[in-house]
């Protein structure tokens, strides 16, 4: 501790000679206590669960509490073998990757397009109105979104089904909420509905930062509206597009930009569409909490975390290559 560089660097201005560490510490004791409270919180709610992952290699029983994590017997890779041999495992990996990739492909361009569309509106009032309502769904809970999905798509009272039947377009109600084959589309669609408007904030700010002179110059050169969007607006958004894309790849398993893989799988998933709706994270959660197999569930969580860390590091590496600066 006596060669802590931070101490020398942050020597109080005007101090003639460096007081001893103990003296300094006593002088800033209250401030230190504030920070210690925060660190104690992290120790309990972040670092203990982090060390808790060793459960995945142990014969852990929930009745032994937190201490049991450290005292129970080692069983090596038993649970990982069990997971790989679980007949659901390929299905879980397929669903997790498919939903994540679909969101990356379909959800990523929407906020960019929406931001361009909003910018092209010249009347300030309409512009502000569109912005205001497009952020709103971000603040609504997933439970309400699922309730809305139910009100619209349910076979019994869903108004879309009712309207289509009344119009004679279909004769049998569409089973969007229960049909396994429509789950991925439902997941991507509801996630875009909820979060796309929110992410326009970043892109709108980027567009606002573009030099208006560029537009005038392009116009003088005879570029119409669409060509100005293509040659001025889009290149002007390059920076945030790259950053957001990298962030979404890094957080892909959670759903990327629009997130919410876990919430959707938990809330929109049901016993009928299980085959397409269950993902690694929800399987771990159910196995752990419903069946009480905590060690096995932790092993599943750990597999997901390792893939996630790998994705973060890869995307950060790409970021360094592309823009010269990483995110961390």
């Amino acid at each position: 501790m006596k060669t802590n560089p931070a101490v020398q660097e942050n020597k109080p201005i005007g101090a003639a000679s460096k007081p001893s560490l103990g003296r300094q510490l006593r002088k800033q004791l209250t401030i230190q206590i504030f920070v210690w409270l925060g660190m104690a919180f992290l120790l309990v709610f972040s670092f203990t669960p982090m060390f808790g992952v060793i459960m995945a290699f142990k014969d852990y029983k929930i009745s032994t509490g937190i201490a049991g994590i450290f005292t129970s017997e080692w069983v090596g890779l038993k649970y990982f073998h069990e997971l790989v041999n679980d007949y659901r495992f390929p299905m879980l990996v397929r669903n997790t990757l498919a939903i994540s990739l679909l969101k990356l492909v379909f959800a990523f361009p929407v906020p960019i397009l929406l931001a361009i569309m909003i910018t092209e509106v010249k009347q300030a009032v309409i512009k502000r109105l569109v912005q205001t309502f497009s952020y709103l769904p971000h603040f609504i809970s997933w439970v309400v979104v699922v309730g809305i999905a139910y009100a619209f798509f349910s076979t019994e009272i869903g108004i879309i089904n009712h309207a289509l039947i009344t119009l004679g377009i279909i004769h049998e109600p569409l089973t969007v909420l229960t049909d396994p084959d429509s789950f991925w589309g439902l997941a991507v669609g509801t996630a875009v509905w909820k979060e796309a408007g929110w992410w326009t904030i970043i892109f709108l700010a980027a567009i606002a930062g573009i030099d208006p002179g560029l537009y005038e110059a392009a116009q003088l050169d005879g570029a119409g509206r669409l060509r100005r969007i293509w040659h001025v607006t889009l290149p002007g958004m390059r920076g945030p597009i790259v950053v957001v894309l990298i962030l979404s790849i890094g957080s892909m398993l959670g759903g990327g930009l629009v997130g919410s893989n876990f919430e959707q799988s938990m809330l929109l998933g049901n016993t009928i569409n299980n085959d397409k709706s269950q993902i690694i994270q929800t399987y771990a959660f159910n196995v752990g909490l419903a069946q009480g197999r905590f060690a096995f569930a932790t092993a599943i969580d750990l597999v997901q975390s390792i893939i996630a860390v790998f994705l973060i590091l890869t995307s950060n590496f790409i970021a360094k290559r592309v823009s010269g600066t990483g995110l961390y």
Binding site: T30, V35, E120, S141, G147, A151, Q219, L247
Partner: protein, 292 residues
């Protein structure tokens, strides 16, 4: 300004049509739920309700506020939002205030811990085991204690407090005031924009949270609005027989009309608060995006 070309007119027209469509898709669901909550449940179940309540009624709301489970869930949700937001804002700011001092010893070590905690998680199951070990399961505290420190806002608050000149606390310190007094009496009152942003985000997280109420508590006493809504949705999503059947017979309330009412009640406060804080959260979002 140059004269509008044909292209301008075409682009504008298509753009307005598309935006009107976006507006419809975004806003109509809210509107539909609203009219469904003011329509007789059994009438809604017949279908064909699109634009205006067909059989206007306040029954759904009367039912909601007379059902002790819904009312209890409502007050639990209000309580967790108020307590959880206050605790989260004050605790996060307190820690951030300490971390913002340039002369703080071991700063780098503390920030290292924070960065690790932000990027690596032990997963939900390990988290659950810790909650259980601490005896937090089935208590009100499980809603508000694990959310006391928001790491995202911790970093934002640290950079906010760094901008506050050190002299502000200096004279009070001369007069013998402790750091605690300085923090509560001088620092917090001049940090309103920060507190408003944090309040909105932490508050809406609390108000919307459902996982903790569904899995970390048992019995009816501590359930929140979100949990009760999930319960009703799950009952009716698969078991379609439950829909037509009256939920509370004489009032013609169905499970869907009760659910629509709960949804309106759950969205209403957000819509009320939202316009006032919009300018803050746009700033907050930009700050957050810079930090990654």
């Amino acid at each position: 300004m140059a004269r509008k070309t044909r292209e301008d007119y075409t682009v504008d027209t298509i753009n307005y049509i598309l935006l009107a469509l976006v507006a419809l898709i975004t806003l109509y669901p809210f509107y539909y739920v609203l009219i469904a909550s003011f329509n007789l449940g059994q009438d809604t179940a017949r279908g064909g309700l699109y634009l205006l309540p067909r059989a206007f009624t306040l029954n759904n709301y009367i039912y909601f506020f007379n059902d002790k489970h819904w009312v209890n869930a409502f007050f639990i949700t209000v309580a967790r939002t108020v307590v959880g937001t206050l605790l989260g804002v004050i605790f996060t700011c307190l820690v951030a205030y300490g971390l913002s001092k340039p002369y703080l010893l071991f700063r780098r070590f503390y920030f290292l811990l924070i960065v690790i905690a932000m990027n690596i998680s032990g997963g939900l199951i390990a988290f659950y085991v810790v909650l259980r070990g601490l005896g937090l399961l089935n208590t009100f505290a499980v809603y508000v204690v694990p959310t006391m420190l928001s790491l995202f806002f911790l970093l934002i608050a640290v950079s906010f407090f760094r901008e506050i000149p050190e002299e502000i606390g200096e004279s009070a310190r001369m007069d013998g005031a402790g750091e605690m007094t300085i923090f509560f009496r001088m620092i917090l009152p001049i940090s309103l924009p920060l507190l408003a942003t944090m309040g909105l985000f932490l508050g809406s997280n609390q108000w919307n949270a459902w996982l903790d109420s569904a899995y970390f508590v048992q019995g009816q006493g501590l359930r929140t609005l979100a949990y009760r809504m999930i319960e009703v949705i799950n009952q009716t999503m698969i078991n379609t027989d439950a829909i037509g059947a009256a939920y509370a017979g004489s009032m013609q309330v169905t499970s869907f009309s009760a659910q629509a009412t709960a949804m309106v009640i759950s969205v209403f406060p957000i819509i009320c608060v939202y316009p006032f804080i919009q300018k803050y959260f746009v700033q907050g979002m930009m700050l957050g995006s810079v930090k990654g």
